[in-house]
């Protein structure tokens, strides 16, 4: 069962497409948001029923796209871009710095569940490199010092 607010948004999304399957990606985003940022078998089954496809089809879709998670991410999912423009101006070093600072490698979550790190392919902020996304917000021209400040700020919010 989805929360009432998410259910309302799902109903709206479904009304925007000629067939229910078309709404699969936007609905998966909403379902993921509703379930602490990841998808469980139960959620998958529910989304499959909503979109009138098999759970296997949904699993195939989830594993194709990098933004759908089968593992719970941290409360703050720190996504560091290391693709070409970012790596030219220190994106790789920024990722290493973040890993050291949080004591985890990319792809993992801290023990307290507050932070997780993901190494990203191009996130489309190339002229403002190196760039980082935390949950849904972009942070641009991030230096290691700025990253430290950001982490501290998020830690106090958490």
């Amino acid at each position: 069962m989805f929360s009432p607010d998410i259910q309302k948004q799902i109903d709206h999304v479904l009304s925007r497409y000629p067939i229910r399957r078309n709404a699969l990606l936007p609905i998966l985003h909403l379902a993921q948001k509703d379930n602490e940022g990841y998808l469980t078998q139960e959620v998958i089954n529910e989304v499959a029923a909503l979109c009138e496809v098999t759970p296997t089809h949904v699993e195939g879709v989830i594993t194709f796209y990098t933004m759908f998670k089968l593992k719970k991410p941290g409360k703050y999912h720190v996504q560091v871009c290391t693709c070409v423009p970012c790596c030219l101006v220190g994106g790789t070093e920024l990722l290493e710095h973040t890993e050291e600072r949080l004591g985890i490698h990319a792809g993992y979550t801290t023990d307290d569940g507050v932070f997780s790190i993901e190494e990203m392919e191009c996130i489309g902020a190339c002229s403002y490199a190196p760039a980082v996304i935390v949950n849904e917000d972009y942070h641009e021209q991030v230096t290691p010092e700025k990253m430290d400040q950001l982490i501290e700020q998020l830690r106090t919010q958490a």
Binding site: I19, L24, P26, V84, L88, E121, C122, G124, C126
Partner: protein, 423 residues
């Protein structure tokens, strides 16, 4: 001294611009839309053909001609899908348009929908672009509230709905047929063509896929006329375009230039030259898939034809600049890693080729390069070119072949001086 030519950015560069519908209308917005609604769809297609507008997503295909391919009288609905999946490394121009002046782009989208007879347009935005998605949704809500979108656009009887569709992190979904599969709720696998989307696209209906910047050009073309648009570039390269400048320049950013400008002017005048006063080594001129060019080749027009003359391409006009200290083998490894990660896995040459190229480059970086491996790398690139359903195979092969042929000595240095075997 090169300066920007402001067509698409005329509002964005105004510090007092209010990007809401009210602000956009005050700046002269929707004049073109109202004009279009008074024309016949075929007349609009002709104006766009006359303007010489070429697609800004990468291929540079003439937009008016693309529209004229739409199958008619099929009894099925027609669709205009906007490709806002901007994923080519280096490209961040559409984001500027969606974030800072969404109404201008949406006006273009509405004109496009009317021209091809589409009553429900979809905007496929890459999933990571949350700020752009929010900005577009807010702008669309305003259009509905003002009664512009809906059953009767400006009293013309034309019914139009617009929906923002969220992608989920797959580079391949920028390829138009993969984008349509993804929009249908499937894995984003490119389709075998023909049939082209204009015959069988979204849910099997006639569909046109256009880039954000392409559609954003339409209001200007309609109000100022095709000749005014053409005047911003050399023959066959009409209009201004947005350059995403990144890498080792003093002032990276997104700039709007006429196609008369040269690469040198863009780097040194707009970009303020190379950081730290260093020398330029090379430029990747049109997104990571375009063939690299060396520092001595930058005195050409930054246009579709200017770049194809020197064996490269303008692609999505993302210019990545690198200085003399850059290790090109490492750079190529990073590019190849990207294509390896993003290959959809459908065609063997691309799925296997990107993997092998990455392995060989990793060997170079760990000191195990050799002349034989360099030749093998080139051969892997050759085997990927033109052998796959979509252009990702070529996109991965272009940088490999061009880096090896433009900077052969750098690859040789790796096994002639640093390798334990060579030592």
């Amino acid at each position: 001294m090169l300066e920007e030519t402001l067509v698409l950015f005329r509002n964005i560069r105004n510090p007092n611009y209010d990007k809401s519908l009210k602000g956009y209308l005050a700046s002269g917005g929707h004049k073109a839309l109202k004009q279009a609604l008074g024309m016949k769809p075929d007349e609009i297609v002709q104006v766009v053909k006359d303007s010489g507008l070429r697609g800004r997503g990468g291929a540079g295909f003439p937009t008016g001609m693309k529209w004229s391919f739409m199958a008619k009288g099929t009894g099925k609905p027609s669709y205009l899908v906007c490709n806002a999946d901007e994923s080519e490394p280096g490209t961040c121009k559409d984001r500027e348009l969606m974030l800072k002046d969404p109404q201008q782009f949406l006006e273009g989208m509405m004109i496009g929908c009317f021209a091809i007879g589409c009553n429900h347009g979809y905007i496929y935005v890459r999933g990571e672009y949350w700020p752009s998605i929010k900005s577009l949704n807010a702008a669309i809500d305003e259009l509905y509230e003002a009664g512009i979108l809906g059953d009767n656009v400006y009293g013309s009887g034309f019914k139009l709905d617009l929906t923002v569709h969220t992608g989920a992190g797959a580079y391949i979904c920028g390829e138009e047929s993969a984008l349509l599969d993804s929009l249908e709720g499937k894995r984003g696998h490119p389709r075998v063509k023909p049939p082209f989307p204009a015959v069988s696209g979204f849910n099997g209906c006639p569909t046109t896929v256009n880039n954000v910047e392409t559609l954003a050009c339409l209001p200007y073309i309609l109000t100022e006329g095709p000749e005014a648009f053409k005047a911003h570039g050399p023959e066959n390269n009409a209009g201004t375009h947005l350059v995403s400048l990144s890498g080792h320049v003093n002032r990276p950013g997104v700039y709007e230039i006429s196609m008369h400008a040269s690469i040198r002017e863009i780097i040194y005048d707009l970009g303020g030259g190379i950081r730290g006063g260093k020398a330029l080594k090379g430029v990747i001129p049109g997104g990571s898939s375009s063939p690299v060019i060396r520092a001595d080749e930058i005195d050409v027009n930054y246009s579709f034809d200017g770049l194809s003359k020197i064996g490269s391409m303008m692609g999505s006009s993302a210019m990545m600049v690198f200085d003399e200290d850059t290790d090109v083998v490492q750079l190529l490894h990073r590019i190849t890693r990207f294509y390896n990660h993003e290959s959809c896995g459908q065609c063997t040459p691309c799925r296997e080729g990107t993997h092998w190229a990455r392995q060989i480059l990793r060997d170079f970086l760990s000191g195990n390069g050799s002349d034989r491996k360099l030749k093998r790398l080139h051969r892997v690139g050759q085997n990927m070119s033109g052998t796959t359903v979509c252009a990702l195979g070529d996109a991965a092969a272009f940088p490999i072949m061009s880096f090896v042929s433009k900077f052969p000595e750098e690859f040789k240095n790796y096994f002639e001086s640093t390798s334990p075997i060579a030592a």
